[in-house]
Amino acid sequence: MIARAITVSGGLAVRNLLLVRRMPSVFLPALIMPVFILVATAGAFGGIGAIPQLEDSSYLAFTVPLATVMGGGFAGINAGMTLARDIQGGFVDRLVASPAPRVVLILGPLIAACARSLVTTTAVLAAASLGGVFPPGIVGTTVIYVMAALFAAATACWAMGVALQTRSVQSIPLMQIVVFLSVFLSVAYVPRELQTGWLRVAADLNPVTRILEASRATEFEGASWSTLGPGLAASTLLIVGLGLFALAGLRGLGRR
């Protein structure tokens, strides 16, 4: 049973990845967007790096985690988009009617999303290198990749959960808005200490803040458990919670 689940999941994961190659117009934006975010944000707000509190550090380096995490977010959203399309188009019925365990419907795309985040993270790191900011050593770089992949898993669970509940492509904007808000209502543009008012409160409460901070720490002070710990805890919390949400939607499939 488990062996079959693994093979079918693998098969679905491969299919998701193949779709990227065959429908570039749909998926290409999701690959280019993270690099765009890096360039546009660092370019527009680069002056921030010059303030005394940040001791003239590189704002480009500061923005890298934003781009890599958003890249994971896009990959997760795509998993949800594909699932919504498949449900609406009837492909999912075929899978449900097959002997494969249902959980593969989620596992497959989830694996694909994590795999895709590896690509986007690489693209962002490459672009940052062009701008003079290089990957921060083996440990630090690994942390950056892992955080992005974990976020991809979490957003994939969210987006697929939405797809399973609504079973319609009309819910795609909802998937997108929630993911964008979760990233931008955290520490997207400045460190937490410099935020004011409601935004500071939101960032304090937002798990994604820890994910970004864990990634960002590698660029500045270096990776340490004080940031890595909360980052991993937050990711786990999100993945477990949203994973349950997605599984609940899975159970309802075919029953309505």
Partner: protein
Amino acid sequence: MSNRLAVRQTGALARRSVLDTLRLPQAWFPSIFFPLTLMAIFTGSFTETFSRVPGFPDVPSFLDFAVAGAIVQGILIGGTSAGAAFATDIEGGFFDRLVASPVSRAAILLGRLGGSVALGVGQAVLFIGIAVLFGARVEGGVAGFVLVLVLAAVFAVAVGGLGVYLALRTGSSEAVQGTFPLFFALMFFSSAFFPRETMDGWFRTIADLNPISYLVEGMRDLIIVGVEPRPTLISFGVALALAGAAVGASALAFRRRLGDG
């Protein structure tokens, strides 16, 4: 065709454009939600820091600085909706009905643009109102406020015209919607969100060449400085040039489509 009738027709079609937009949340929600949300996030992020950034103009609060960018962004998003709606008219046949009726050709075009203007100005009023509610001040006073609205109106014509041009050329609302990300990107490569003076390198060059920079700066100065002739005239010039080009292009595309049916 009497001019009075043409005006009446334009008004009726403008009214229809506005009603259609307001009745479809997907049409107006993005143009309100995104700019305001970003404005709030930027304010929360940069209030503490902006005064320390070298090259940043002297403003009482970041909110004052950000409103203009939000207005221009909102109009840009709204313009794509207008174009998509026009394309839907073409797809659905309502456009044909208008063409086959004794409606002045100009009214068909200007009606849609009039709707864009009404929505753009309404949006500007809303955004400034919200900003003022949160403590911002319009240094240019009533005159400045009015000038901002006029600038918004002209820009709305430009963006609406571009949307209509795309609709006439592609006849597909999906294609028009597809250009939305492009414009979103354009806004970042300008001084819409942060001053050009703080940028450097090739990014600064792009921002210097981007007409949106001058548009936003003109509007922004009316709010944070007051009514100054130079920046105001520059941005009006840019806006009028864009509007003229857009309207001209759509008029040509209109004529072509009528000839080909």
